[in-house]
Symmetry: C2
Subunit: 423 residues, 2 copies
């Protein structure tokens, strides 16, 4: 995505017209929430058939899914996530409804027990630093903050995080890890290049227990059926293995945006040593995850081909929304702002003129539309340019999105005009 | 339960007969697992109707359970668990399928962040000690061990843990908490007396951040319909409130042994300050728990009355097994060993003649019956008397239980006879 510096001027009479239209909007009493990347109802409806499971509760290995057992997940679910993550089923643990929770658990284990047996628990180290590409996912930053880990932001380009900077930063032994969305990233929409993956896998880290928390939330979340318009992500586990660093990466994904955001299943994939470590530390954390839901998922989506066919139906629902938003941005804001044109994932990363993002979000809120807070793609909510706004087009039905995309350009133009008038 | 000292002698000719019958058993090639407190299939079948949910996905507050939202759980599930735990719905967080996982999360938060805002995180304290009544639940001990907490065992009588000892131990500021099953306890079957609850609620603890992890797993798990044969547990939250220690207790329960052991829902109930603390620390741990499963449960079991009716059907299935095991013990082992006669829960606590438990479990295993390892109701697996064996009668179908209860008394008598011959 190219950064376009605003060049367009807005004349005073135009500004008055903008303000009038904005006030008209306020009088509508809208109440729309576009703050999170949530699926809309029609997407959720696609998975209703999954809920019909009245008999056949045994997993492939003969375990009654309704009972205790199979702490690593039922074999068929481990196989499915193995396909999604590109790793052997034995190297997969299938979890509950949240991959973010699995990532959180992996962090707490590193903090309390150390990433591998014999490693110093991170809670014994005064300042543990975690690299996070920016703009990035607020949940990653806030999770680190909650757990007492210091987030070190790393700027991102089309190919992923600035790898020169990453390679420099990991020479610091306090830098213990990196958390990232490597594919159709939240919110930038970018996918890491093969070279980025290779450099992450092979770079020299001062910390022997350095871990990459590979939050691959959008691994099958393409917007276009055309293979040429899809991103491809190199398998980082293979790259780590080839580079002699098999334990470096922990890969996460879930069906939150495949089946139900509130009732899916999740997984972690990693080296045999990492999986063994997590299974050991998990043994007394819980008896097992919800295997009934695992089996329900597998009956509905038995393999990668079924997932891909299902995701094509999801894409048919959300693609028109992305295309509509992008068309409106182009129509109204070309020359004033810039944005990416994502080929997958859940977000459009909008870059307002410098110093305008907070004001735009405020103007939208005052007209009844809640956007993701400006700054949230940056640690501590601090966007040094006050420019990035994450647009999440999936949740509102199209008729609401139409209203939002009337309002949003107005808000951008008003904020921009105001910014030009500031001394 | 009274401790009966073995007085019966076994004559050499009787012993030969026992050994012959034991060897006959071995030749059967049995393969039975009685190691865990698992429901049997017929119990799980009772909840099959719960799985039919094809429409109506909104919770009472209008949240689509299939989507993100309601991190504390849907209101109707909070209300149900409020009834089960005896606390206001606003003081309940409904979790995933495992209350043990909620307990584990509460411990990790105490370790990483401190129980309340401003408390020193337990990871900064060299030796954090947790009281655990014994005989107790191995999962509690092992969870502490995994998290680096030292378990301090406290002997239990009919009324609960030895409260004189507890009150003495909590004068040590390193003693930060207690983990216990207060009702139909695993494995002792006892329920804490009102006086025990009151003393736990009101005792002076050196640690201001002392917490009782009240694992009330068997709160509605009565074996008998007659109210006179049911245990009643005093509400510890009310007692803590009355004693001016509202934040002392965190109460946990789940539907693992109500609906599905592998696919239930769980909850934590506590003071407003504790709930607020957990909600805050949970915010970036996960977006929400599985609300589809919460709603599924509520449609099936809308209130406490429905749960109690359902638990009466569960009791009808497992009560005959308990009664059969107790009858066989009485028939074969009276005078040699002792045991409790539980009125609820999942276990019979068998006390073999001193020094015999490991050998009994070994003899059973060598004849194809896996029992819970001897010693497991004690921290580190160390039963100072080598006496306690946890019998879990629920999982095997009756016909298998019949075989087990032929074998088990044989094994006890053989081990006892061997022990008498030891110098």
């Amino acid at each position: 995505m190219s950064i376009i510096h605003p060049v367009t001027q807005i004349r005073p009479d135009e500004f008055e017209l903008l303000m009038k239209r904005y006030r008209d909007f306020q009088s509508l009493g809208l109440k729309l929430d576009m703050s999170r990347g949530k699926p809309e109802s029609r997407q959720l409806d696609l998975s209703i058939p999954m809920l019909e499971m009245k008999s056949g509760f045994l997993s492939e290995d003969g375990t009654d899914t309704r009972n205790y057992g199979d702490p690593a997940g039922i074999p068929e679910a481990r196989r499915l996530f193995g396909q999604l993550l590109g790793i052997a089923p034995e190297q997969v643990i299938v979890g509950g409804n949240s991959s973010i929770n699995l990532l959180h658990d992996a962090l707490t284990r590193a903090i309390i027990n150390g990433p591998s047996k014999g490693d110093t628990p991170w809670c014994r180290i005064p300042d543990v630093r975690i690299l996070c590409p920016v703009p990035g996912y607020d949940w990653h930053f806030e999770m680190c903050r909650t757990l007492g880990l210091t987030v070190v932001p790393v700027p991102t380009s089309e190919t992923g995080p600035d790898m020169d900077m990453v390679e420099r930063l990991v020479r610091d032994p306090c830098v213990k890890g990196m958390i990232c969305n490597p594919m159709y990233a939240n919110p930038s929409g970018i996918t890491y290049s093969d070279q980025t993956v290779d450099r992450l896998a092979s770079m020299k880290t001062a910390a022997a227990d350095f871990r990459i928390f590979w939050d691959n939330a959008y691994c099958v979340h393409h917007l276009y059926p055309d293979p040429a318009r899809r991103h491809h992500l190199k398998n980082i586990y293979d790259a780590c293995l080839a580079a002699g660093n098999p334990d470096r990466v922990l890969m996460f994904t879930s069906t939150s945006k495949i089946t139900f955001a509130g009732g899916g299943i999740s997984a972690i994939g990693a080296s045999p040593a990492n999986i063994c470590r997590h299974m050991e530390l998990m043994t007394y954390q819980l008896v097992c995850y919800d295997k009934v839901n695992q089996l329900r998922h597998i009956k509905f989506l038995p393999d990668l081909a079924a997932v891909e066919a299902h995701m094509a139906r999801q894409a048919d629902i959300i693609r028109p929304k992305f295309e509509f938003v992008l068309a409106r941005l182009k129509q109204e804001l070309e020359g004033i702002a810039s944005w990416n044109e994502p080929l997958g994932g859940y977000f459009i990363c909008f870059r307002a003129p410098r110093g305008c993002a907070r004001r735009i979000v405020q103007l939208c809120r005052q007209a009844g539309v809640t956007l993701t807070p400006a700054g949230s793609p940056f640690p501590g909510g601090h966007d040094p340019e006050d420019s990035v706004i994450r647009i999440a087009p999936t949740y509102p039905p199209m008729e609401e999105l139409v209203k939002v995309m009337e309002l949003f350009p107005l808000a951008v133009k008003i904020a921009y005009r105001e910014s030009l008038l500031r001394p």
